[in-house]
């Protein structure tokens, strides 16, 4: 048990009563909630969770394992926020509830929490260590060690799930983008836009080529690109997983680093990072030292598709004949409300055969590190996405977030579909390259 005093301190993390009372429990969000669809239980629904948080905040419900379970079961996909006509700020509530859980004695075991905390705070948050780990992984994945390890493990029936989770580990890039990109890249034509580029941690080590593609396309669109070498993780994974203090610490570092440069837009190609960097402005409203900096920063953050859709684009593109469909990353469509822009960018590719995806805004189950921490649930959610993808008959599925790319690749392999997964920018780059 935690002492009443500690509990009182903890509960202060929860949003105030005005925010909690905003939900008028009409249920209009139920149909869009993937976890409610799975269990059909109100406690796994947005309004159910909100009511539980309200009860905890009012001291009418003890912090319990079941409460923790429901808060962690939530994908934080924020589909309910899009669906809610009343403007309820659900994300804020569940993320603060997770802070309370992480610091209390409910939810996963202490040892799990310690491991998660270590990984988030001491590896992800320290890019040099993340890169070191990634180097080991690269070695493991590329020199036959993985094949041997999997063969050995597969003897044991209990290891089946381990192997499946292992297969979710993204394939580490040979050259990290933070090392392959120059700190300043000049445009091919006269410079029109000054861009700061956020490399993202996962993009950097596992999808470096997407970062190279991004810079390449920007370069062809009259952009001068600054890629600060010492930028750190944006903190979104920490914030979504109850480590808000660490998230703020990282955010401050980035604010300091980026403020040394002058730029018109700060471009991100990871939906999760972009969404969180747009949030800095709210994160620091009451911080006299950082509020101004955060404002200047957040208003400049744009997803790469947002930027490209709003400029006069370089038309040097050649036709692509592939059948292409688009999956909306939650943190792009629900958090950032960016839906039309990527579609517009795709339509600019000549000859493209675009096939709409049913339920394109339904979460794929990736949800940050959810597909690792809650693998079984993520697999069930993935199933629905795969069924819809299969029905499109597309050759390529395009999306805007590294987590989704990994999860979709995993699903396509698991369900034996023939489909390529690409980031929006990579398809644009492909069409530009053919032009040469």
């Amino acid at each position: 048990m935690i002492s009443p005093k500690d509990k009182a301190v903890l509960l202060k993390f929860l949003p105030n009563d005005d925010i909690l009372t905003q939900c008028m429990h009409c249920g209009m969000c139920l149909a869009t909630c993937p976890t409610y669809e799975l269990t059909k239980l109100e406690r796994s629904s947005p309004r159910g969770r909100i009511k539980l948080i309200k009860y905890v905040a009012e001291g009418k419900l003890e912090l319990s394992n079941l409460f923790a379970e429901e808060m962690n079961f939530c994908l934080d996909c924020q589909a309910c926020e899009t669906a809610c006509p009343a403007g309820v700020q659900y994300g804020k509530m569940v993320e603060s509830a997770r802070v309370v859980i992480e610091h209390s004695n409910v939810g996963s075991s202490k040892i799990n929490k310690v491991i998660k905390k270590f990984l988030l705070n001491s590896v992800v948050a320290k890019h040099s260590r993340l890169k070191l780990l990634a180097r080991f992984l690269y070695f493991y994945q590329n020199f036959g060690i993985r094949t041997i390890a999997i063969k050995l493990l597969s003897i044991f029936p209990f290891a089946k799930k381990m192997i499946e989770i292992e297969s979710l580990t993204p394939k580490i890039s040979k050259v990290f983008s933070s090392e392959g990109l120059k700190e300043i890249t000049f445009p091919e034509n006269p410079s029109k836009y000054k861009i700061a580029f956020s490399t993202g941690c996962i993009m950097d080590i596992a999808f470096a080529e997407i970062n190279f593609d991004t810079v390449d396309v920007l370069q062809k669109n009259q952009c001068e690109i600054i890629t600060p070498k010492n930028q750190v993780c944006c903190g979104s994974l920490h914030a979504h997983n109850g480590e808000i203090e660490k998230a703020k610490e990282l955010a401050k570092k980035n604010l300091d680093i980026f403020s040394e440069f002058e730029y018109d837009f700060l471009i991100s190609n990871s939906a999760g990072c972009g969404a969180f960097m747009k949030e800095y402005i709210h994160l620091f409203v009451d911080d006299p030292q950082y509020s101004e900096k955060a404002r200047g920063f957040s208003i400049r953050v744009k997803d790469i598709s947002e930027f490209l859709a709003n400029i006069e684009p370089n038309k040097q593109m050649s036709p692509l004949e592939e059948k292409v469909t688009y999956h909306d990353a939650c943190h792009l469509c629900h958090s950032q409300k960016v839906m039309e822009e990527p579609r517009k960018v795709l339509q600019q590719i000549p000859g493209l055969n675009f096939i709409p995806l049913e339920e394109s805004t339904w979460c794929c189950g990736s949800a940050g590190i959810y597909n690792v921490t809650r693998h079984d649930d993520a697999e069930k959610i993935l199933e629905r996405k795969m069924k819809n993808l299969q029905e499109t008959g597309a050759d390529v599925v395009v999306t805007g977030n590294p987590g989704c790319i990994g999860q979709l690749k995993h699903g396509i392999e698991k369900y034996g579909l023939k489909m390529e997964v690409l980031h929006t920018i990579s398809l644009v780059k492909k069409s530009m390259d053919r032009n040469i």
Binding site: T21, K40, L41, E42, C84, A86, G87
Partner: protein, 481 residues
């Protein structure tokens, strides 16, 4: 409730379908109704007719109450638990059992979501018209239990016009089948009309047979804004008397329009006093002619900004925006108490004025919208449940609105039902004899008062126990009443 009784309940449905954690009880303690809440003792998901029947037998024997529940979007408290009750959730009974294209019927389980059913039948060129604002979430079982209406009620009627038959378990546990695929049926009393709208007090539906019609092939969606609210009311009256029957004529006042625009950002005119959303549908050229006539009526009544949706996508956007109206009003203030007063259509302009009068007399913010073509308005009080003085004023404003509606020949609820929320006003709408007749029916069908007790009626011999907050408990309420 005694643990031994809960054990018996658990045994009936199996432990996998039984929930009694505090978290489950809390999350089933409310529905879409503001300010009413009560914890159930347990929540169960029965698997078949036999289990439902056994639960009811047990309830009669052990004297506890059973609350049927669909999606819990009800607005009169129909699925809110009462003291010493368990909730029986029907959402997992969501199969579409049969579409009979020869007889134009659909046989469904009660938990199927209304919008899901509609999509399925529309794939076959068929149409199930009732479309409550909550249609993407609410269930057919809940719709039949509330006799729900919707936007298209004006031309196509409400749920009861599409129910051909039901299968249900009675409060005493027996199975009853009513109606069938024949379009005509006058054998005995018309029991169907008694169970439709019974709000879960006369039986638990287990199957529902619905009538379908051919899907209209053409439609036109028109919006018009008005500088003066009165002109919108007059337009509605003129359209109705012009012998055109649009499929919908929806009304939104300025407050509602602004909240909807905040949510949808589809470019509604924030400055006008009122807006109408009108749809005409059918087959062939008459649709265009009707649309033209309506546009000229709108012009005559000083409408500004008349807009015709360019395509189906734009029309859907406008209708979806309208469907979000009630919830969108919660952007202003956290508690939205929505009412459902309905008047004969010719009285609509008067009623709209009366709502404005109520808002200013009692000093409360009211957003008004509704199915204007049906004379069914949803004046919604924007308030805060934590401010008891304002809540009292809100209730006074509503008492005033109800009285005015009844004076105009109207009623207290057009589509949301009586439940707990409107019980106190029932007598003024149906009279003493009406209530007595209803009580007699209930007492014969449910002698121990176990099924959804305390909803619609207050009954002897078995009193309902403590109900979720009653209006009388609100300070000052009695003084006014």
């Amino acid at each position: 409730m005694q643990p031994s009784i809960l054990e018996k309940i658990k045994k009936v449905v199996g432990s996998k379908h039984y929930y009694d954690s505090p978290e489950d009880r809390i999350s089933y303690s409310f529905d879409g109704t503001p300010m009413l809440q009560q914890l159930p003792e347990a929540v169960v998901f029965p698997q078949n007719n036999e289990q439902i029947s056994e639960l009811l037998h047990l309830a009669n024997k052990e004297k506890f109450a059973i609350i049927p529940r669909g999606a819990g979007t009800g607005l009169s408290g129909g699925s809110i638990p009462v003291e010493n009750s368990i909730v029986v959730v029907m959402t997992k009974w969501n199969k579409l059992l049969e579409i009979d294209s020869a007889n134009l019927t659909a046989l469904v389980e009660p938990g199927i979501v209304t919008g899901v059913l509609q999509k399925e039948v529309e794939k076959l060129g068929l149409f199930y018209p009732p479309d409550p604002g909550s249609m993407n979430v609410c269930t057919i079982g809940g719709n039949v239990a509330e006799n729900a209406g919707g936007l298209r009620g004006l031309k196509y009627g409400v749920t009861k016009n599409y129910v051909l038959g039901v299968e249900m378990i009675l409060p005493t546990g027996e199975f009853l089948k009513i109606g069938g695929k024949s379009v005509k049926d006058v054998a005995g009393y018309n029991l169907k009309d008694i169970v439709i709208g019974s709000e879960g007090t006369l039986g638990i539906f287990t199957k529902i047979l619905l009538k379908l019609i051919p899907l209209p092939t053409k439609s036109k969606t028109i919006t018009a804004n008005f500088k003066k609210i009165i002109d919108s009311g007059k337009s509605v009256a003129d359209i109705i008397s012009s012998q055109i029957t649009p499929s919908m004529v929806e009304f939104l006042d300025n407050t509602t329009m602004n909240c909807v625009e905040d949510y949808t950002k589809i470019g509604l005119d924030r400055n006008s006093e009122a807006m109408l959303l009108i749809e005409v549908d059918g087959r062939g050229s008459s649709v265009d002619e009707d649309a033209e006539t309506i546009v000229s009526i709108l012009k005559k009544n000083n409408a500004v900004q008349i807009r015709i949706a360019e395509n189906a996508a734009e029309a859907l956007l406008l209708k979806t925006a309208r469907r979000s109206a009630f919830s969108a009003l919660a952007r202003r203030k956290p508690t939205t108490i929505l009412e459902d007063a309905t008047v004969p259509r010719s009285e609509l302009p008067v009623m709209i004025e009366k709502v404005r009068e109520a808002a200013s007399n009692f000093n409360v913010a009211i957003g008004n919208f509704g199915h204007a073509g049906d004379g069914n308005l949803h004046p919604t009080c924007l308030t805060d449940e934590r401010d008891s003085a304002e809540i009292t004023r809100a209730h006074k404003a509503f008492a005033f609105i109800f009285n005015e509606a009844i004076k105009l020949g109207g009623t207290i609820t057009g589509e949301h039902g009586t439940g707990l929320a409107k019980k106190d006003f029932l007598e003024s709408a149906v009279g003493k004899e009406g209530i007595e007749f209803m009580k007699k029916i209930k007492m014969v069908v449910d002698p121990n008062n176990v099924l959804n007790p305390g909803k619609i009626l207050t009954l002897a011999p078995r009193c309902e126990g403590a109900l979720p907050v009653k209006r009388e408990q609100i300070p000052d309420y009695n003084a006014h009443h």
